[in-house]
Amino acid sequence: MTVSLSGTEVAKQIASQFPEAIAESSNQAVVVKTEYLLKVAEFLKNSPDFDFNYLNDMTAADYYDYFEVVFQLSSLNLNHKLMLKTRCYERLKPAVPSVCCLWRGAELMEREIYDLMGITFTGHPNLKRIVLWEGFQGHPLRKDYL
C-alpha cells in the first residue's frame, strides 16, 4: 500500500538541507519557494530516503493571489508519495523553473500548464501551446478568463 508521506516530516528533512526553501507545510503537502524548487526537487529525486523517481502528475491552480503549481511525486521502489507545491505570486508574467531536466514526464504537463494557465517554465526545451493554437489570446483555466 502506498504510503502518503507527511508533508511536515518531509519539510523538516528538506529544511535541514535548504533552510530557507520551505514556505509552508501541512500534513498533506509541502510548499516550497519557487526559487528553491529545482534544488528541492533534485534533492527529493536523488536522496535515497525519498527516491522520488516518478512524477505522477503536475498541474496548477489559480487562487487569484497566486498560482499554485502542484507536483505529485512518487517512488516506485519505496512505494510512497508526496504532494509538492510551489506558489507563484506574479500574475502578469508568472514563471517557475522547469523540472524537465529531472523528470522527462514533465515536458507535456508543463506545456499544458503553460497553455491553459499561462505559467512560463524557464528551462523547458520546447515551451509552446499544446492544446490551443498558436496565437490564442488568454489562458482559459485562469479564474479571470471567461
Partner: protein, 367 residues
C-alpha cells in the same frame, strides 16, 4: 557523381487512417527512415477541465465519459473515487463489487481494441480487430444491460452505481467469463507466434526502463518496459486488495512486449471478474448521498489503474457544489512523452506500429 538528396517533411494526420483519431505528427523523412518527429496535439480539445468547473460533481460524470471514450467506465470510477475521497462518502459492498466487475470488463474492452488496432496498424487486414470487436460486442451488451448505454455509460455515481444489476446480468456475465479464456487462446493461436508479427514488433520501438519511469509512462507501456507497477497492487483502491491476480511485465519494452502485456492482462482481468462474481454480495447498490454534493474545503489527488495507465483526478474543492479546480491526468497524453525517442531512426512502417502499440485515445490526449 553524387545524387543530391534531401529529407522531406510529411504530415501524418490529423486525418490519417492509423492515428487513432485526430493526432498529427510532423515527420521528417529520409526516404523511409524517420529523422525527426514532432507531435501536434489539440485537434480534439474541448476544455473539459474548464467545463467541469461549472458543473456539479454528479454533472461531471458525463464529461468523464468523453475523456477516454473506449474506457468510459474506468473514467467514471476514477472520478467517483476522487469525489468520495474528497467528501468522505462510503460505498456499499455490492456497489464496490459491481464497480470492480465493470472496471475489469472495461479493461478487457479497451485492451481488445488496443490489440486489435495495433494489429490493424501493423497491416493484418481487419481480421484480428474484427475478432476482438466480436468479444467487445458481448461486453458492450453487458454494459447495455446495466446502464442502457454502449459507449458513454454515465453509470457510476459518488456512493455507488446508478442502477442495480438486473437479474439477467450475472448469468450473462457468467457465460461471458466462461467463454473469454477460449477466445484469448484463439487470439494467441492466430497471433502470438506469427513470424511476421514478431518481425514487425520484436525489438521495435524500445522504451527502456529508465526512460519509461523518467517520462512518467504508466499502464501497459510502463509494465512492458519491465517495471512491476500496478496501482491496483501498489495502492489498492476500491476492493482490489481482496482479489488474487498477477502483474504481467515485459522484459524488453518493445512493441511486442506491449502487445503481450495487454494479452496477459486480459487473462488477469477475467480472473478478477471470476473472483468478484463468487463473492458478489447482495444489499444496497448505492449509499444515500445528497443530490448536490458539497465536499469540505480541500484537495485530493486520487488515481486508479485505468486500462491505458494511471488515470488520476486532482480536485480542489471550495465547499461549493462545483469543483474549484478540476484537473485530469490524461494517461494517453503523458504516455506520448517519449514518442519521439521511440520512433526516431525507424521506418515509416514502424512509426505506425510503435504509435499503435502505445494505445492512445484522442479524447484523453486533448481533453
Amino acid at each position: 557523381m553524387t545524387i543530391k538528396t534531401e529529407p522531406f517533411v510529411i504530415n501524418f494526420g490529423p486525418a490519417h487512417p492509423s492515428t487513432h483519431g485526430v493526432f498529427r505528427m510532423r515527420v521528417v523523412l529520409d526516404g523511409e527512415v524517420v529523422l525527426d518527429l514532432e507531435p501536434v496535439y489539440g485537434y480534439l480539445h474541448r476544455g473539459i477541465e474548464k467545463l467541469a468547473e461549472q458543473r456539479t460533481y454528479t454533472g461531471i460524470i458525463p464529461l468523464t465519459d468523453r475523456l477516454d471514450y473506449l474506457a468510459a467506465m474506468s473514467n467514471n470510477l476514477a472520478h467517483c473515487i476522487a469525489v468520495e475521497k474528497l467528501a468522505g462518502i462510503k460505498v456499499p459492498e455490492r456497489a464496490e463489487y459491481l464497480r470492480v466487475i465493470l472496471a475489469e470488463l472495461q479493461r478487457l474492452c479497451s485492451h481488445l481494441i488496443a490489440v486489435g488496432a495495433f494489429l490493424n496498424d501493423s497491416g493484418a487486414f481487419m481480421t484480428p480487430i474484427l475478432y476482438m470487436l466480436r468479444e467487445r460486442e458481448k461486453i458492450l451488451d453487458l454494459f447495455e444491460m446495466l446502464s442502457g448505454q454502449r459507449l458513454t455509460y454515465n453509470d457510476m455515481r459518488p456512493g455507488g452505481v446508478s442502477q442495480d444489476a438486473p437479474e439477467e446480468f450475472l448469468p450473462a456475465l457468467h457465460k461471458f467469463v466462461d467463454q473469454m479464456p477460449r477466445y484469448l487462446d484463439e487470439y494467441d493461436q492466430l497471433l502470438a507466434k506469427n513470424e511476421i508479427l514478431l518481425a514487425r514488433s520484436k525489438g521495435v520501438g524500445i522504451l527502456s526502463k529508465e526512460l519509461a519511469i523518467n517520462s512518467s509512462a504508466s499502464g501497459p507501456v510502463l509494465r512492458a518496459s519491465g517495471v512491476k507497477w500496478d496501482i491496483r497492487k501498489a495502492e489498492p483502491y476500491s476492493i482490489y486488495d481482496r482479489f488474487e491476480f498477477e502483474i504481467p511485465t515485459g522484459t524488453a519494452g518493445d512493441c511486442y512486449d506491449r502487445y503481450l502485456v495487454r494479452m496477459l492482462e486480459m487473462r488477469q482481468s477475467v480472473r478478477i471478474i471470476e473472483q468478484a462474481m463468487k463473492q458478489f454480495p447482495s444489499g444496497e447498490y448505492r449509499s444515500r448521498v445528497p443530490k448536490l454534493i458539497r465536499p469540505p474545503v480541500g484537495e485530493v489527488y486520487s488515481r486508479i489503474e485505468a486500462p491505458k495507465g494511471e488515470l488520476a483526478f486532482y480536485i480542489v474543492s471550495d465547499s461549493s457544489i462545483a469543483p474549484y479546480r478540476y484537473h485530469i491526468r490524461g494517461t494517453s497524453l503523458i504516455n506520448l512523452t517519449a514518442l519521439r525517442d521511440m520512433i526516431v531512426g525507424w521506418k515509416v512502417a514502424d512509426l505506425i506500429v510503435i504509435f499503435g502499440s502505445i494505445d492512445i485515445c484522442m479524447g484523453e490526449v486533448d481533453r
